[in-house]
């Protein structure tokens, strides 16, 4: 193997100190010298690094960063450099599988698809299309999401479409909609090149978007480095570099953010003219945050008043600021309300719509943005508003269908509710593509029970036999990145094309081909009797999407496959006015809040109650941004005598999601082979726990057994990475989500993975063996029982 750097040992590589233009560094890793390089981009986090795929004899043999790309300037992180080997795994799914007599057996595509069509029609007959739900991913391509969105919304007419993007990025979308009227990140990664200050809230960027962190590290080493404020309960790689690190107690983002805003408003370091001309709601926000003087913040959040003042000094005095938020905000209490406070910080200081001033409500997954744009999740295509009849009419005209077939009587069903309906028997067919809920959803025993339900027909479309696929009734082998062509969009709205480099293994097919095949077999038609899906190839699907997005904030109409294949990715909106794309949104400070444009009429931040069209029209801000706030609310489950510790979950630098791909790279797997429980030195001493000892962790919902890792967290808090399930190791319960809660944010509906009350005890060998044994036996019994009954 040849590589330009060892990204396992040195995650971020050599520094290139700079201010202004970020120097190029091309990272490369190959097994053999490729015959050709094929343009693509990385799909192992939301950063969206431009990448070439090296191909030799029809096989992927390596990758290299694209020097010309605006996102990464040639760099790649450890996941990007090593994760590609998963394509070549021997255990890829190669033929469709159908459950017969309780066992998954190989079948033809015809047989599998006909069974899916037969089941769909049976469910529609009994329950209408309300009995059908789709649970997708942040991994498919734009063309696939859009095609599925049209099938679901105009073919079947079901409101039950969402993705595991709900678990990772729903709050980003919700917060942007609440403040600016629509989804869409205001800034550009180039903001980092010049900014004076950076704020990371609940975002361990060093581990999550390693290449973005390289850019920040290079700034930190260059001239006039930016000051860095990090809000995170753990001393992460990111926190270690902070000028000021605030470590709030779990669930107290709102007190900290309200406290920071209060100090900034109080010191008068706000842009009064901007507030007056471009926002609504300042007086109310001021009253809300005024209740949070630093001393009260300290009392509730544990963040020392002096440190809060230091942070406010930086954030209040910088003339340019880049802020990011991720799961520490999105998966915690009052998620949307806290994320909105980050937007508010920029609005009250007028730091938006110009170079150096960016807000990144981060996405977790590489193509999550496209699920939001294309509407295969709980949104409508093109950021359209389900409450706006004109928006529905636009879609109906575009698709040539009766507007009434498009479900728009209430917001599209969110993921947690889809699973609840399946639990209640109110959804009887659940189609899961490119995601692994049996490891990634909260409260896994409940999810397993739902997947195993006799009255639920489960379709899983995946490249691998995941923990979820094992429980499916039909498994469809999917082609992945490198094996199909399509586009996807990163956090700063940069759209990349990823070309097909090799053939998929066996009979595996792209998700696009599978969805189009389903549409044909279901015979979905438009008003004139023509096929509803009028495209066959990914390029035709992209052209259809361009039409759908035209005139909306996420306008792709000026792009084409050939334009995207010329060099760097391109930032939307890209249209006649901006043929080369747009680095910054809102440069004129006109936001997407007008009643006829906005993607939502808004929500009550405490309850999620929807504002009606009439109510919104009465207060139509006509392009001004919303300043909204709310007061602190304690989490519903807090540590007590029985479960005295806080649990929080998170990621590791070497893995992505449930490791379906990264776990199949030996280098990545060896770098982070197993789950663990991280506890503070104080708690380790209190419980008499030594490094590496096996610990039983229990919540009210389940139990895991993990080796102890001591240090790096606050006393009273324990941390478990969420990546690890059972496909490669099932000798003990180890998935963090055995413990987590089925509850969610009232606005974004994103589940609260960041806290739960747990207790810990030292495990003895006997417990480990017997528990593992019980779990496997119970699972087998349930599976065989249910499935044999069904057969």
């Amino acid at each position: 193997m040849q590589q330009t750097r060892d990204s396992i040992k040195d995650i971020w590589g050599k520094r290139s100190p700079y201010k202004g233009d970020w120097p190029v560094r091309v990272d490369e890793q190959i097994e053999e010298e490729p015959d050709k390089w094929v343009q693509s981009a990385c799909v192992l986090c939301s950063n969206g690094c431009g990448m070439d795929i090296g191909v030799k004899d029809g096989k992927i043999v390596g990758v290299r960063g694209r020097a010309v790309d605006i996102v990464n300037h040639g760099r790649l992180g450890p996941k990007g450099l090593n994760g590609w080997v998963a394509n070549n795994s021997a255990d890829r799914l190669k033929r469709p599988l159908i459950r017969k007599n309780g066992k998954l057996e190989e079948s033809s595509w015809d047989e599998a698809m006909e069974l899916i069509v037969k089941k769909s029609k049976e469910v529609i007959e009994k329950q209408t299309s309300l009995g059908i739900g789709f649970y997708t991913s942040g991994q498919l391509f734009l063309e696939e999401y859009y095609t599925l969105a049209v099938i679901g919304k105009a073919g079947l007419g079901t409101p039950h479409m969402d993705g595991n993007t709900r678990l990772c990025t729903a709050t980003a979308a919700a917060a942007l909609k609440v403040s600016f009227g629509s989804d869409g990140q205001p800034g550009s990664y180039t903001d980092i090149d010049t900014t004076e200050a950076i704020l990371h809230v609940g975002h361990n960027v060093a581990s999550q978007q390693t290449v973005l962190w390289m850019r920040i590290l290079d700034r930190l080493e260059g001239e006039n480095p930016p000051k860095l404020v990090v809000i995170d309960p753990r001393k992460t790689f990111t926190a270690e570099k902070a000028t000021v690190h605030l470590a709030p107690i779990t669930g107290t983002n709102i007190p900290v953010m309200n406290g920071l805003l209060n100090l900034i408003i109080d010191s008068g370091r706000i842009n009064k003219e901007f507030i007056e001309n471009h926002t609504v709601g300042f007086e109310e926000l001021k009253q809300i945050v005024a209740k949070w003087p630093p001393e009260r913040v300290e009392e509730v959040s544990g963040v020392p008043a002096a440190k809060l003042r230091e942070a406010a000094e930086i954030l209040g005095s910088a003339s340019t600021l880049v802020s990011t938020a991720l799961q520490g905000v999105y998966q915690s209490m009052q998620a949307t309300a806290a994320a909105v406070q980050v937007n508010n910080l920029h609005l009250i200081r007028g730091l938006i719509g110009r170079p150096g001033c960016g807000i990144y409500q981060m996405n977790g997954q590489p193509t999550a943005q496209n699920n939001r744009e294309c509407g295969a999740d709980g949104d409508l295509p093109g950021f359209r508003n389900w409450g706006n009849k004109e928006h529905i009419a636009e879609l109906a005209t575009l698709w040539n269908v009766d507007p009434d077939i498009i479900p728009h009587w209430s917001p599209p069903t969110h993921a947690m509710q889809i699973w609840r309906y399946a639990e209640q028997g109110l959804i009887s067919l659940l189609w899961i593509s490119g995601t692994n809920p049996a490891v990634s959803m909260p409260e896994l025993q409940r999810i397993r029970n739902i997947l195993d339900k006799e009255d639920l027909f489960v379709i899983v479309q995946d490249p691998f036999m995941t923990e979820t696929a094992e429980r499916a009734d039909v498994v469809l082998p999917a082609a992945i990145w490198g094996e199909k062509t399509g586009c996807f969009t990163n956090v700063d709205r940069t759209v990349h094309i990823s070309h097909k480099a090799i053939e998929p293994p066996g009979e595996a097919r792209s998700d696009l081909d599978i969805f189009i095949d389903y549409a044909k077999r279901m015979d979905f038609r438009d008003k004139d009797g023509d096929p509803l899906i009028k495209w066959q190839t990914s390029e035709e699907a992209f052209e259809a999407w361009k039409q759908c997005s035209k005139g909306r904030p996420c306008d792709y109409s000026g792009m084409s496959y050939s334009k995207l294949s010329q060099g760097s990715g391109i930032q939307w909106p890209c249209n006649e006015q901006f043929p080369d794309g747009t680095p910054h949104l809102y440069t004129t400070h006109l936001f997407n809040t007008s009643a006829n444009i906005c993607e939502t009429y808004g929500y009550d931040l405490d309850t999620g109650a929807a504002v009606t069209a009439e109510e919104y029209k009465a207060i139509d801000p006509k392009g001004k941004a919303f300043l909204k706030g709310t007061d602190y609310q304690q989490p519903y489950e807090i540590p007590d005598d029985l479960y005295p510790l806080w649990l929080t979950t998170g990621r590791q630098v070497y893995h992505f999601h449930t490791r379906t791909k990264t776990g199949r790279s030996k280098a990545l797997s060896d770098a982070a082979p197993d789950a663990f429980i991280q506890i503070s030195e104080e708690d380790a001493a209190r419980y008499g726990i030594k490094e590496g000892e096996m610990i039983v962790v229990e919540s009210r919902r389940g139990k895991v057994i993990e080796p102890a890792k001591i240090g790096g967290v606050e006393p009273g808090l324990v941390f478990i990475p969420f990546h690890y399930g059972y496909w490669d190791k099932s000798d003990r319960p180890r998935a963090a989500n055995e413990l987590t809660l089925s509850e969610w944010d009232p606005v974004s509906k994103q589940p609260h993975f960041k806290y739960a009350a747990v207790r810990i005890t030292k495990a003895d060998a006997g417990i480990i063996e017997s528990t593992a044994d019980k779990i496997e036996k119970a699972a087998d019994t349930i599976k065989s029982k249910l499935k044999s009954q069904e057969a």
């Binding site: 209430s410 009550d604 405490d606 999620g608 504002v611 009232p746």
Partner: protein, 152 residues
Amino acid sequence: MHIGQYIDLVHRTEIDLVKAFKKVAKAHGDEPDVYQTCQLLASWSQKLVEEFEPIVKRYKEESDKEPDRLTQTLLKDTRKGGLALLRDLHDLYLITTEVKVCCTILKQASDGLRDKDLTAMCEEIERQTTRQLSWLLTRAKQAAPQTLIVAK
């Protein structure tokens, strides 16, 4: 003067509303959002009940205990089965509306009396009942198609 009767009516109906939200929360624990939001909304009403007490005392002589006709018939027992959640949310909507109507009527008299404290109290109750109603309607609308078309 009959204003005491309305003050008493608003106060007692708000107390009933606390109980009703708690009852529905308890009955639908399997719906985490309903459970948590109903508890939150019960806490809002509880706070209003307490803030209202000094005014209730001030007008005590005019009060008479007319039984609350509406809350006695609604939500006596929370329901079971496919329709349960929708019907319980519907009942909560009616009880909350009762609080709101009583309060709107009371505020008219309060304006006439120029009782600034009472008027402010009425405005706060109206504001909160509006938010409560808004959530109840949002959640009921969400549940309606699946309940009325699919549920057995």
